[in-house]
């Protein structure tokens, strides 16, 4: 074991900052997901796919599912937020997007510390995740 006495026990400030942003974002995302799902199953807001017909579609591959139901892919769900099933995507998107926020929050810390390598790595991670989120890189579908 390395016995470096200069090290201190406990997380670095940027690690704590990351944890705080993650905690808040995760809680908000989960609460939104549970609330919107409640609106969906309790029938408070009408869904795009009637609940009793949903089981006729979920055995299809994603291409047939989207084509038969005329559902847009990518960020097209934003245009369908009037339907209960698509309301659930807000929570899902928040959960999938929180890591981008966490990285964005710690970038100034690396800049302040002049930690160039980790600054570059964090910026690259944000670019990679933003590219995935934007739909610029996507699968072919079946």
């Amino acid at each position: 074991m390395n016995q470096d006495n200069n090290l201190s026990i406990g997380p670095s400030p940027e690690q704590v900052l990351y944890a705080n942003v993650l905690n808040k974002g995760m809680l908000i995302g989960l609460i939104i997901l549970i609330v919107t799902f409640g609106l969906y199953v309790l029938g408070v807001v009408a869904p795009f796919i009637p609940l009793e017909k949903l089981s006729s579609y979920w055995h299809m591959n994603v291409h047939d599912y989207l084509t038969q139901l005329n559902i847009p892919n990518g960020w097209g769900w934003l245009t369908m937020l009037g339907y209960a099933d698509f309301l659930n995507f807000i929570g899902v998107a928040l959960l999938a997007g929180i890591t981008i926020l966490c990285y964005s929050a710690i970038i100034p810390s690396f800049l302040e510390k002049n930690d160039k390598i980790y600054l570059v790595l964090a910026v690259l991670e944000v670019i990679v995740l933003m590219a995935a989120a934007s739909g610029l890189v996507s699968g072919g579908g079946h």
Partner: protein
Amino acid sequence: MGKCNILKPGLLVVVSLVVFAGTALATSSAETAALMPAGDHAWWFWPIVLFIVTFIMGILAVLGGVGGGVLFVPIISGFFPFHLDFVRGAGLLVALAGALAAGPGLLRSGLASLRLAIPVGLIASTCAIIGAMIGLALPTNVIQLSLGATILGICILMLTAKKSEFPDVPESDKLSSILKIYGVYREESTGETINWKIHRTPVGLCLFVIIGIMAGMFGLGAGWANVPALNLLMGAPLKISVATSKFLLSITDTSAAWVYMNQGCVIPMMVVPSLIGIMGGSFIGVSILKVVKPTFIRWMVIFILGFAGIKALSKGLGW
């Protein structure tokens, strides 16, 4: 003591019965559903079965020391009527939610290392995008077949891989020294202060190329591969490896989850019951961890995974 003796086997019997009853019910109903396109059940039937099965999965995942995603994809794709595209999308979101929920605590405790996770996460998340793209482009039977082979490989890994609590790292390699990947934590069980560092960083980072691709391709999460890579290969202490691996999933699975989401592979009626089920089961799992025998549960998890792997192989072969 006597009460505990009755509780342990009783609990195991109940868990086992519910798992097998759930999968049997799912299998028979999946076959029925295949014959009747609209299905023979009320709309709420499958979400409720999904919730029950994922709840049990959550318990087993904690007790068996595996992530929820690795159980979710093979079992749900093998025994439920959902297409693999949606199962993988849900699997990634289930693994992601678990990692997001655990992340803040692991980071604050200092057990998860952000400095270790950032370079590894960049490689794994980039490759997970590639894996997701490959996974969505390949025919379903090829993915089923590869998934089955991978799951059986994971079983072998679980049976054979050793763990090292404090691996011997004589000297940091150059790359990890430049990246300043080292740290110190207090081992609560002994009160000792442990200084740690890693080695073989370039090889370890290369391994995360494969881990990222597999995570994205199958929607499995990647804890099963992260821990051996960080612990056995790179030499991080077991606790640091487990915690960093769990946190790492929140980065790796995010990129792949976006690809699946943008392709339309998210059905909320599958995702939300699974997510709540796994998370609820995990809470129960943590609370009964002291009562049950983890070794037995681990064997049970390997058995269930093996069964699901064979089922995936047979589905891929069209049997």
